[in-house]
């Protein structure tokens, strides 16, 4: 279809891939550009927690409701990438116990199925759990495989006509005489040549790097790259996600992945997320947090540590208090620049919803009437992404 509208998506993380998937299903031609491959930025480096929303159900109910809804949808459409073993919220001290009633009320309000189970039962299922645990709640948490979840979205998008150009870095945006964005200047890093790509709309799905793209046209996107550290240990000590029953803080989630357990995370702000050095004391701090939840971590070896820069929306407040929900900026409204939409914030669990919102905006701007069907569309095997 030559007159099919063409949307350029910058960024092949969760959001970019999910946006391409949604665009393709609504009959819009999508070209995804990324300077790396699929999920080479924040997406690949996520903790891998499929949130039940339990973590946010007291302080950030909007995020919590998004999480549980998307949790259920992803378990249906992306079963291949999700290890759904459930999770625990555990109380280890008096302060944790005081949080319990708030947690129960919040979970009920947000529609998250939790259950208080006897401590001895929990210890039987997860024998490596801290034996001094005072209370245990089950939640429908899961773990997902970060790269493969993004690949599954990309594979399905590709099957439906979207085009992916990995290792193609956007070096600038093309503006027309009216000051509107009509395309992107691209550097193909594989063959080392530069070219221009024109489109009817550009979606900036670069997450923590959204500001770098909008800066090219002097537009604003209030995104703060907020990295956190995560550390992996080389034994699979638990099969369920273990959360600390308290207000979200540092180092309070321990996740089983493959043959490891991973603890996370911290939160601080940086200006440039391209390379974030590791702070030694943070690694040690994570170790202490992990040992508190699962003392057997002491008998393991450290397998890896890494930094991941969350794209948090808003500024002027410190990281933990920034909402974990997402935001879609139509730059026509914010900066009077047409043809550019930025989607950022949010979390991996809600990437499908982020794409839905973004593509709704894109459709409205392009004057296309098409319903979002990603809720009901199962993703095909992630390996199909590599089929040419």
């Amino acid at each position: 279809m030559p007159d099919q509208p063409h949307v350029i998506v910058i960024g092949a993380g969760f959001t970019g891939c999910a946006v391409a998937h949604d665009l393709a299903l609504r009959g819009i031609r999508a070209t995804v550009l990324d300077r790396g491959e699929i999920a080479s930025g924040t997406s690949g480096r996520t903790h891998g927690l499929l949130h039940s929303g339990g973590r946010y159900c007291v302080n950030d109910k909007e995020s919590a409701v998004e999480c549980i809804e998307e949790n259920k949808i992803l378990r249906k459409i992306a079963k291949q990438c999700i290890e759904f073993n459930g999770g625990y919220f555990v109380a280890l001290n008096e302060s944790d116990l005081e949080y319990a009633p708030l947690f129960e009320a919040g979970a009920q309000e947000c529609g998250i199925e939790i259950e208080k189970i006897p401590v001895d039962k929990a210890l039987k299922v997860e024998p490596n759990l801290n034996p001094n645990v005072l209370a245990v709640y089950t939640v429908p948490d899961g773990t997902f495989d970060p790269l493969r979840l993004a690949l599954a979205f990309a594979a399905t998008a590709k099957k439906n006509g979207a085009e992916f150009r990995p290792y193609h870095e956007v070096t600038g945006l093309i503006m027309n005489g009216q000051g509107n964005v009509t395309g992107a200047e691209v550097w193909d890093r594989v063959t080392n040549h530069k070219y221009k790509l024109h489109g009817d709309m550009v979606v900036n799905a670069t997450g923590a790097w959204a500001g770098a793209i909008t800066k090219m046209v002097n537009a604003k996107a209030s995104v703060v790259p907020t990295p956190g550290i995560m550390v992996a240990y080389d034994q699979r000590l638990i099969n369920r996600v273990v959360n600390r029953l308290n207000a979200p803080g540092d180092g309070d989630i321990l996740i089983p992945q493959r043959r490891m357990v991973c603890i996370g995370t911290t939160s601080f702000e940086v200006s440039d997320a391209d390379y974030i050095p590791i702070e030694e004391d943070q690694v040690e701090f994570m170790y202490r947090c992990a040992v508190e939840l699962v003392p057997a971590v002491k008998s393991t070896n450290q397998r890896g540590w890494w930094m991941s820069a969350r794209p948090l929306v808003g500024s002027g407040e410190s990281g933990r208090s920034l909402a974990r929900t997402f935001k879609c900026f139509d730059h026509k409204a914010t900066d009077n620049i047409d043809g550019l939409v930025t989607i950022t914030g949010g979390k991996a669990t809600t990437c499908r919803a982020m794409a839905e919102t973004t593509v709704d905006v894109v459709c409205e701007k392009l004057g296309i009437r098409a319903e979002c069907v990603t809720r009901e569309t199962p993703l095909i095997s992630y390996r199909n992404y590599y089929l040419s």
């Binding site: 095909i380 095997s381 390996r383 199909n384 089929l387």
Partner: protein
């Protein structure tokens, strides 16, 4: 969706592989018997024509030697075929090589049996 494909021409199948492995193990067994028999019947070694002829007078010997020979030929040719597969031959070439190997194998086996018979029936 990608399905598990069926394979029309396996080129190397269970049976050929199993044959190679089992003939290999049998060679080891026969080689063991060979050493034992050799040690019992000809402790000095078979260094002259006469000794060999005498050695073959024992009826166990020609039978054992022929069986040993057949398995060694079979094992060597199936083994060579495996190595030949590493050269990525076309189906046509592989078929030609198969025929050459079968002819050579049968030829050498017949030759070996004839030789054993000649020796066993020679009198000193």
């Amino acid at each position: 969706m990608i399905d598990t494909p069926s394979v029309p021409k396996p080129r190397e199948s269970t049976w050929l592989w199993l044959f190679k492995i089992i003939s290999g193990l049998l060679i080891v067994v026969f080689l063991g018997i060979h050493f034992v028999v050799n040690h019992l019947l000809a402790p000095q070694g078979l260094l002259t024509y006469e000794e060999v002829i005498l050695y073959f007078k024992n009826p166990i010997v020609p039978v054992m030697e022929v069986l040993f020979l057949v398995f060694v030929i079979a094992h060597s040719l199936t083994g060579l075929r495996s190595i030949f597969l590493d050269l990525n031959p076309s189906d046509k070439l592989l078929r030609a090589v198969d025929i050459v190997f079968i002819v050579a194998g049968v030829g050498f086996a017949v030759y070996g049996i004839w030789l054993a018979w000649v020796i066993a029936s020679t009198s000193v």
